[in-house]
Structures are given as C-alpha cells and as structure tokens.
C-alpha cells in the first residue's frame, strides 16, 4: 500500500513547475513492469530444499511423540505448506505466496486421495501373492477340501489345497450374461434419448428413472432378481412348463446384475452419442440417407470407442458385486457351467465366504490365504478391464486428422 501511495503524484508535484518536479515521481508502470526479467522469481531448487528441510523437521517432530510414517507424512506436509508460504511471502510477494499455498494444498489433497488406492494394492498384492502361487489355485475348485485338509496345512505346512476355478467360471458366465442383457437395452435407450426424443415427457421420465436406478442399493437389485425369477418360475410351473422349481441359479444373478448395469450403460453411451457432431448427421441426411441408417452407419461408428469403453467400465463396476449374487446364485464348492440349473459361485462371494465361514473354523489361515489370493485375482481382473477400456478407446477412435 505504502508503495502505491508514494507513486501517486503529490499535490506539490502537480502544482509545481512542470519539468523537474514531475520527474521525481516514480513511474507508476514500474509495478506492472519490474526492472529485471528475473525479478519476483525463486530459483528452481527452492521447492526441493524446503521439502528436504520440512521432511527432516517432520521426522524430528514425529520422533518426539513416537515415530511412524503416517505422523511423519502429516508433519512433513503441514511444514512444507507453511514454510513455502513463508519463504515466498518474504522473498517474493503475498499474491504469489497465496498461489503457492493453494497449489501445495491441491498436491497434498491429491496424495491423500491416492493413499487408499496404493495401500489397498500393496496389502492385497503382498498378502495375496503366496496364495496365488500355490499350485492349482486357478485350476481347481473347493471340491473335497474340508477342515482336516486345512488343519494339516496350518499345522504341518503341507501345501494349501483348493482354488477358485469354480468362482472364476461363475463370475465370467454371470457377468457376460448380464452384459448381453444390459448392452442392447442400455444402448437402445440412449439412442432413443439422443436421437428420437425431442425433450418430451417420456424422455424426461426415462432420464429421471435411470438416475434413480443408478442409486439402487445392490442388495435390492439382488432381491428383485430373486423375486422376479421366483414369480416367473411359479407362473411357468403352474402352466406345466418344464422349468426348474428353484430360482437360485446363474441367470437370476445375471438379471440382478443387469439391473445395476443398465443405468451405467445408458448414461455412458448417452454421453458418447451426444458428442457426435450434429454436422455428421446432417451430412448423412443431405445425402438422402434415412435416420435409422444414419444412426447405425454414422452415429454409432463415430461413437463406438466411447461406447465400448463405457460398456467395459460398466462390466468392471458389476464384476465386484457380492450381495446380489449371494442372494440369487448362492454358493457352491464345485464347478457349474450351467446358468439355468443349480447354484453358482462368483469371485466376490467366494472371498466373502472364505473370510466369514472358513473351511475349518479353528484353523482359518488357509481359508484367509485363499481369500486374499482371490481378492488379488479380482483386482487384477478389474484393472485389466479398465486397461482394456482404454485400449479399446484408442483403437476404435475415429482416424486422427494427421494435421
């Protein structure tokens, strides 16, 4: 403030003789244009030095209480933000100091957001690897594994037997079937919303109910699947159709999952169809092409990368569901390839059961080892699906302009 006051022409200088008095007043533009190009800049290594100093101080402070990494991280982060604010405030100015502080806070927030992710990946990988390396873990099911086998493994160190083959098969079949049910329904809904609906009541109602569906708790979807299939089988059996009497089977779980999947598919594909430029549709109409052909041959091919990526993400979303599969497909120890007959196991249910009801209640270590390994496999599958989505998005993307 004081500086700007000085730069204002004083009454004396204004009233005084024109030449010399005015020249003593500093040029106001010196605030806008500093004398040196490197003025108001800190050397590039300042941040590093502050980080080292605050890490050292943070270690010292945390060891005063009792040293651990979490405390060290907290102290370092707080000190770094404070010290760099102070240094910039003293060396440069208040505006840049404030800017620096907010920038550092954003970085800290980002690191905090990443911590759970890395923590989960680290713990699941480190605990799950031994179980995954057990011979036959991926190739065998839990048939014939009982308390005595696990007791021997824990007490005598024999290899942990039993695996997740049946759970992998179950997850694969149920998720794929759910995808086959949801993708056509979801895609057609979004085509209606984007291409045909003209903002009428129906389209607003669809959008509203799709949003409601997004928020359905997964256990409710599971109960719906079980109830719907039970009703359907009851009606079918009373008509004398050759249907199974029990509703607990793979297809029921697939229906429950598709209830969760459809809203995700609708929302993602709707976004993708909306970003297709209207010019392309008009270009196609102007060539005398009908609307449905325009949609199939111009709009969908242009948006296919986004649609495929969205579908893959929707699959990743439901493959980790536990509750709806537990209440619809149940849990078995042996392999079942038939979606329409008998109970089925999925990976998340397998993990849940191994933790909650270990095969041998008194010797639970082998069960926990299998559960961690299955969790690792599940994480790998979900990450693989996310990667696939990215690869699909780049592979199918419209050809680059090359300019």
């Amino acid at each position: 403030m004081s500086q700007t006051q000085q730069q204002r022409p004083t009454p004396a200088s204004v009233e005084g003789p024109a030449g010399p008095a005015r020249q003593k007043v500093p040029d106001p533009s010196s605030v806008l244009r500093p004398t040196s190009l490197t003025q108001n800049r800190l050397p590039w290594w300042t941040g590093l030095v502050i980080l080292v100093v605050s890490a050292a101080l943070g270690a010292a402070l945390s060891s005063l209480i009792s040293f651990n990494f979490a405390l060290w991280f907290v102290f370092t982060a707080v000190l770094y933000v404070l010290i760099s604010y102070g240094v910039t405030r003293v060396k440069v100015n208040r505006r840049q100091a404030k800017d620096k502080m907010w920038k550092n806070l954003v970085y800290v927030a980002f690191i905090i957001a990443l911590l759970p992710l890395f923590s989960v990946i680290w713990s699941v990988t480190s605990i799950g690897i031994p179980g995954l390396l057990e011979p036959g873990f991926l190739a065998s099911d839990m048939q014939g594994i009982d308390g005595t086998t696990d007791q021997r493994s824990q007490e005598e160190g024999t290899p942990v037997l039993g695996g997740i083959r049946h759970a992998l098969v179950g997850s694969l079949l149920i998720t794929l079937t759910a995808t086959f049910i949801s993708v056509p329904i979801g895609l057609m809904t979004s085509i209606y919303l984007v291409e045909y609906a003209r903002g009428g009541t129906l389209s607003r109602a669809i959008t509203f109910f799709v949003d409601v569906m997004t928020g359905i708790p997964s256990i409710v979807a599971g109960l719906f699947g079980a109830a719907a299939m039970g009703w359907f089988l009851g009606v079918g059996n009373s008509l004398g159709l050759p249907l199974p009497t029990r509703s607990t089977m793979g297809i029921t779980a697939a229906i429950a999952l598709s209830v969760l999947m459809i809203p995700v598919v609708v929302r993602t594909t709707e976004e993708m169809l909306r970003v297709v430029p209207n010019e392309l549709r008009e270009a196609s109409y102007a060539l005398g092409v009908r609307k449905w052909r325009t949609i199939i041959k111009v709009v969908i091919p242009t948006a296919i990368s986004g649609i495929a990526a969205g579908v893959t993400l929707a699959i990743a979303r439901v493959i980790g569901e536990t509750a709806p599969i537990l209440v619809t497909a149940g849990f078995v120890v042996s392999n079942n390839w038939n979606l329409f007959q008998g109970w089925m196991t999925a990976l998340p249910v397998y993990i849940f059961r191994q933790f909650q009801n270990p095969t041998s209640p008194n010797f639970s270590d082998p069960s926990h080892q299998r559960a961690w390994a299955a969790a690792l496999v599940l994480i790998i599958i979900v990450m693989g699906l996310n990667l696939t989505a990215r690869i699909i998005a780049t592979l199918f993307a419209p050809k680059k302009t090359g300019r």
Partner: protein, 259 residues
C-alpha cells in the same frame, strides 16, 4: 438432370417463430443463384427449406409451396428422404465422415443407403465424382487414407464430390468458402462454374464479390429488426443487383452502407 425451383408464398417457422416470410422466387435450371444479406436474415433457413433439411430441427416447419420443376416437395405424401437425394447440400464447415476413408466418403451416399455395387462401378463413381470436384489429382494416390487428413479446402471439395456422386438435381451450398483461404476459395468457385453446366446451384454467401463472380442471379434478403421475420427484398440479375438495384435497402447493402 437438373431441375428448376419455384417457391410460392413460402413461410418458414421455428416453432411459433416466423423466421422467413412470403418468399416468391423462381430459380432456373442449370444456373447459379446467390443469396446475400446480413446475418440472421434467413438466407440459410430458406436454403435449408429447399431440401427439407429445415425440419430436422425440433418444431421447425414450412408453409406454402415449393416446386421442384412441377412437383411440390411439401405436398402430402412426399418423403423428405427422397427430396434430399434429389437436392444435395454442401455445408459451411467441411464435414467428411471421420470414420471413413476418402474413397468411402465419396461413396457414402451409396454405402450408407446399403446399395450394392461391383468394385469397378464403385471405382468409376469415385473417379468421376473426384474429377468433378477437381480433387482427383490431389488424392488419387491416397484414396484409402482418412478423409479428415486433407486440408480444409480439400475436405470441402471432398464434400462436394460426395454430393455430386449421388447425382442430385440441385446442389445447395451454405457459405461453402467461409472457412477457407483465398486459394481454396478460388478452387471452389471454379468448380461451381463447372458444375453449373449440369446442376442447378444455389449458394448462400457473405462475400459479395463471390456472389458477383459466380452467380447469374442474386437474391437479397433482409430483416426489419430482431424478432421480425426475414424477407426476400429483391431478386434480379446479379449485375442489376450490384450495379443498379431498384430497392434502396439493396443499394445500401451492396455499397457497404449497412450490414
């Protein structure tokens, strides 16, 4: 090939809003007609009503008669898709299909409609249309490359080739050169005067020199004020419009006094 266009008391609406009012115009076959006028006066709206592209927008509609030779394209039972296959359109911004190669872009009118054709037929159509659009020599070695890799002017000529390939009766052009540099503009203007021998061409332009260079007849559109409908003020030989207009608004516009 090539038909005349006659509009009789044509009103164009967006919902309840009357955008263009009472247009009466006769456009001869095998001629170039230019529409000029200030922004927002309804030139493009009227142009889009000539191939029923106007009604693609929700709520848009047209009243009155529009005759293609003797057939009213707004008559009962007329399929707008058939109209559009007879009246092609080139847009302001080049819009080749990004998922298709140059060759597929030229054949788009056939391929998108599911037409089957032998490879030699397709080759003939591609070569003919690209020759017609003065693009053949520039792209003949890279027909399988994506159409979006061409320069802006080449893309616009590709769009013209795509339109010419389906052999329409009329070609509508909506400011086809406004996104292009002077050299590409010259190429398109040369092309327009060649296409004129086979097609009826209607072009909307903001560039009055361009209207003077390419067209035989010019229509001047104007709007009384915001919210008022646009009207066709004067329609005459291009030389008359630019040198000796009968309406004072036209004279003020072409001499650059407003707009």
């Amino acid at each position: 090939m090539s038909k005349s266009i006659t509009a009789k008391d044509l009103n164009v609406y967006y919902g309840d809003f009357l955008a263009v009012e009472g247009v009466n115009i006769e456009i001869a076959a095998r001629s170039v007609t230019a529409f000029i006028g200030p922004s927002g006066c309804g030139k493009t709206t009227f142009l889009r009503s000539l191939n029923r592209m106007h009604e693609v927008l929700p709520g848009a509609r047209v009243e009155g008669q529009l005759l293609l030779d003797d057939d009213n394209i707004y008559g009962p039972g007329v399929d707008p898709v058939t109209v559009r296959s007879m009246v092609g359109m080139v847009f302001q911004r080049p819009n080749p299909f990004p998922t298709m190669s140059i060759r597929e872009n030229v054949l788009a009118g056939y391929k998108l409609n599911g037409a089957r054709m032998s490879k030699s037929q397709a080759d003939d159509i591609v070569e003919g249309a690209l020759h017609g659009a003065n693009l053949w020599n520039e792209v003949k070695d890279r027909l399988d490359k994506p159409g979006s890799g061409l320069s802006g002017g080449q893309q616009q000529r590709l769009c013209i080739a795509r339109t010419v390939a389906v052999k329409p009766e009329v070609i509508l052009m909506d400011e086809p050169c406004s996104a292009l540099d002077p050299i590409s503009t010259l190429a398109i203007e040369d092309l327009i005067s060649e296409l004129q021998q086979e097609y009826t061409i209607v072009i909307v332009t903001h560039n009055m020199q361009q209207a003077a260079r390419v067209s035989q007849k010019t229509a001047f559109f104007n709007i009384a004020g915001t919210g008022k409908p646009g009207k066709m003020i004067e329609y005459a030989e291009t030389s008359t419009i630019f040198n000796n207009p009968s309406n004072q608004q036209t004279e003020r516009y072409v001499s650059g006094k407003f707009g």
